[in-house]
Symmetry: C2
Subunit: 578 residues, 2 copies
């Protein structure tokens, strides 16, 4: 009845049902809509007045309405207000649409943190297309593989990466529209590969471009390739619904608000900056960009912009701690820093606190839009000593309020392990901030979602206080004489050694024991060449059960992936040859 | 494919499609699920791993997991931890299920703020039923109407209200299961009307009751009757999706976190405490209950619990300001207080600030789960004088980040008014925090959602800075000599008069002008009988255009609804007779 009155198009109902992944005919819609049930369903359908697909794009429209004059983006000497940011994003969407980009297409971006990549998080999905942010440390072959697999229609690429992109485009067997990002702050500017540059591209777009919100919140918004340690990378397809919810989850957990000044030390290409590309906007905060998380850029940016929040892998924290003293510009406020991946060891926490940072430990994966759990602070930890605090803080914690369920369980039977802090199981998650699945890889998707839970591949324990702790990647566990050894646990002990900067422990094949732990250790610069393997083993003997002690200790630099993760498969190969 | 592997029930797909308001057969589901489109849709369906109906019930499960020992509820000398609260809510759900309560049923609650009503916000929907919180100031006839219209299956009722409930039950023509809430803090405890009391009812329930999350986030969660000024009240049906989202919206806008201590000065029956019943839990904060927002209870509760946040209609602020000095216990921290309804006049803001409160102005309706817009603070207001600040702050502001759109427009053509701060239009909203509609009232629902927007019935203007300001309820506008006069605007001037405590302006029929403004004024106690109508008129002449000046001024107390709203229809009748 109201449809006639209100002039709502009849196609609208179809759009709604499409939210369940289906296209239905008018006739079907008519039948379905009549099967109403209780009095709470009669004449109480979803309508354009009370239902809208969830999308993080709405946060930009909101921030531009609520804080039009506020600084949205800082990039070196450049400043954009939220009004500017929104019109730049509309221009981008308009220009892309002009190149034929629309729903279901992919737009790839090869860029460091900066306005172009941030704007792509809004401008690309405004056309209905999917953003594929590329890891700029990848090699040409992998990039060519991704551009082909993702069926990218447009590539926007920072001139710094012209050499590798040129090679990748040479490998790719088809033409691609290329837009050069010509950032004046780039340290090097390689040759132009496209027929236009980013600012000219924007200038040709319409700042009042009327974009259509996604018809369906289950539509894809981004495609992020995981940096697999072996084989081809997998394309993680994320949806508007999850991006909206994880942005709100971050804002709530990290307490973002209009006074938040967020420093981009985490790469935006890394699962969309853990959804912070949208979360900071949802709070009306300010994005401060740096092309690289180098201490010489980070410390002055903190002081100049009075940064309140930042994120980074432990390697970034290490870089800040070990920066030369003259680089460490002092600031007189506290900066909240969220870290993920490996647990922050107590010396790292202590060193960060001395410099004015407060560390929070997050846990998540590309498949979960970034953070899915947080080591939430408990008031009774205030009175603990640093070591005890660090032990509490090193855990992966409790789920985000926006995650439905998290458990440590047997991945086959789905029976949760006892909350004894000892029994190992796989970390399993479910909820609305889990990916749609892997692109063109139904098999991997089915495996990841077996039993109706997302299998993280991480092994952990559940503590009696309900805090989850990751002990290892399932493939990183060392089995020695039938005993499981968590490589992470051994690494934590090594990290606490005052002369150790970094450490990684892998399995070394052993005739007698099956496997034994083998430690690869990087010493702090001032101690290089001055520590013997025996000292490391003696330290381990003091701090762990004897079967866990590394039988082999190797000193030197550790091989890393382009996102800074230690490449254990390389170390495993080395260990075999020792 | 994964379905077979993962053992997901085939009925699951049906449940998902039901999210669009429909029940479909297996055969239909099979057809629909195959109509996949782009590569971003293939093998990337919603599954139990990555999709869950949004519901605020998940916040309680989360808080009990993250902060089990933390104080969730304070009620006089009583304290419940989040673990307690969750098990009490499960008990309630279990006990209700034992009485046959399930999906689509209604449970009514007549109670002041306290554990029982808060728990009902979780325990009732845990059974799939719908919570109908009753305004405890209503008369027996209206309550009987509501119980009949809502088809309530169970009524939980505080013994303080036994007399009115007994009368209502006498009027009602059918039997109803009644549970007496026997609060030891109740000032009066009337006769028992049911066969059990609340605590015994809980004790018989199962603390480990396994409740099922709603199959569909569009399911009804609450039913709130608006206190209509004429005719029967309308039943506003709210959904799980909107309750989840507005709880997050509140938490984000009000900056709730685990250290939040929220004082319940706002009645929980008032659109579910503006969704704060769920928002405080979503942040892991503490609910501090008071049965009435009386200054003798409020001030000591603030100090004893170090309250950080509270809400209240302007009448509550007035009560606090005008409390005797010996009641105003001093506290040494700032309390954030959100107010809604009428704009806070500058003397109220100033007086509240002097006592240690910081006032924020919200706007919303029962139909929008409470707040839909906030007068968000802008940094450049810091330097303004109090009057200018108050002018800025008195506006209804910008939409919540969780509201899709808000505009001031012609309700027929939907053309937005110019943002000139002058042109009046109706305030229209749309998004996911708008009700499903009015129960058993398709006509009213259709009217409210005409054109795909929710019509608030409020008239307002849009300022050049994008801030919306409500000028009047459409029916409260006075049309004098063809000119529209905003009764609110005249009232604001009256409120600023140093001897005026409250004022309301309505239309008085006039042969020559059609209507003229008629002012009803309550003087401050110390000035009663000592101010003449001429003084008020002279004050108005200084502060407004002459056609807006009230031709008639009447002194005395103002008639109010049970929620503290001034009953203008009563005043209109009086004005006619003058």
């Amino acid at each position: 009845m109201w449809r006639a009155r209100a002039g709502v198009p009849s196609a609208w109902w179809r759009g709604r049902l499409a939210a369940a992944g289906a296209i239905i005919t008018d006739a079907e819609a008519a039948i379905l809509s009549k099967r109403a049930r209780s009095m709470f369903e009669r004449d109480l359908e979803q309508t354009p007045a009370n239902f809208r697909a969830l999308t993080p794009l709405s946060f930009l429209a909101w921030a531009a309405a609520a804080y039009p004059e506020k600084t949205a983006v800082v990039h070196g000497p450049h400043r954009f207000s939220y009004r500017d940011l929104e019109s730049r994003c509309r221009r981008l969407a308009s220009a892309l649409a002009g190149r034929g980009v629309g729903p279901g297409d992919t737009v790839s971006v090869m860029a460091p943190n900066g306005p172009a990549l941030l704007e792509a998080h809004y401008g690309v999905p405004m056309t209905g297309a999917v953003l594929n942010a590329l890891n700029f440390r990848l090699d040409a072959d992998t990039i060519a593989f991704i551009l082909a697999h993702a069926e990218s229609k447009v590539l926007m690429t920072d001139r710094e990466f012209a050499p590798v992109i040129k090679k990748a485009l040479g490998t790719l067997k088809r033409q691609l529209a290329v837009v050069d990002i010509d950032d004046p702050l780039a340290p090097e500017r390689g040759e132009r590969l496209g027929d236009t540059d980013y600012e000219s591209f924007l200038a040709a777009g319409d700042p009042a471009f009327s974009w259509t919100p996604p018809a369906n919140e289950w539509n894809a918004i981004t495609l992020n390739y995981t940096s697999g340690t072996t084989g081809n990378p997998k394309g993680v397809v994320c949806h508007h619904r999850g991006a909206f919810l994880n942005a709100l989850g971050n804002a709530l957990v990290m307490r973002f608000g209009p006074e938040t000044v967020y420093l981009w030390t985490l790469p935006m290409f890394h699962c969309n900056g853990w959804s912070h590309t949208w979360a900071v906007t949802a709070a009306g905060g300010t994005h401060v960009c740096v092309r690289r998380p180098e201490p010489t850029l980070v410390f002055p940016a903190i002081k100049a912009n009075r940064v309140t929040n930042m994120c980074g892998a432990p390697v970034v924290l290490n870089m800040l701690i070990h920066a030369p003293d003259d680089v460490k510009v002092r600031f007189d406020h506290t900066v909240e820093v969220a870290t993920g991946g490996a647990a922050p060891p107590s010396p790292v926490i202590a060193a960060m606190e001395r410099m004015g940072f407060r560390v929070t430990h997050l846990y998540g994966l590309t498949e979960t839009f970034g953070p899915a759990s947080v080591c939430a602070w408990q008031r009774d930890w205030d009175d603990l000593g640093l070591e005890e605090k660090a032990t509490k803080m090193s855990r992966q914690g409790v789920r985000y309020p926006t995650v439905a369920e998290l458990m440590v369980a047997d991945p086959q039977t789905l029976a949760p392990v006892p909350a004894d802090g000892k029994t190992m199981g796989e970390v399993l998650l479910r909820g609305n901030t889990v990916m749609k699945g892997y692109l063109k890889n139904g098999r991997a998707t089915a495996d990841a979602f077996a039993g109706g839970w997302f299998h993280t591949g991480d092994l952990g324990v559940m503590h009696p206080d309900g805090y989850m702790e990751v002990k290892d990647r399932s493939k990183d566990v060392i089995i020695s004489g039938g005993e499981n050894i968590s490589s992470l646990e051994v690494e934590e002990v090594l990290y606490r050694h005052p002369r150790v900067m970094e450490a990684a422990v892998v399995a070394k094949p052993d005739e007698k024991w099956g496997e034994t732990p083998c430690a690869f250790v990087t010493l702090k610069a001032e101690w290089e060449g001055n520590v013997r393997a025996e000292e490391i083993v003696a330290w381990c003997r003091e701090h762990m059960a004897s079967f866990k002690i590394p039988r082999t200790v190797v000193f030197g630099a550790l091989p890393k992936t382009s996102t800074g993760k230690i490449q254990k498969f390389v170390l495993r190969e080395r260990a075999k040859e020792l």
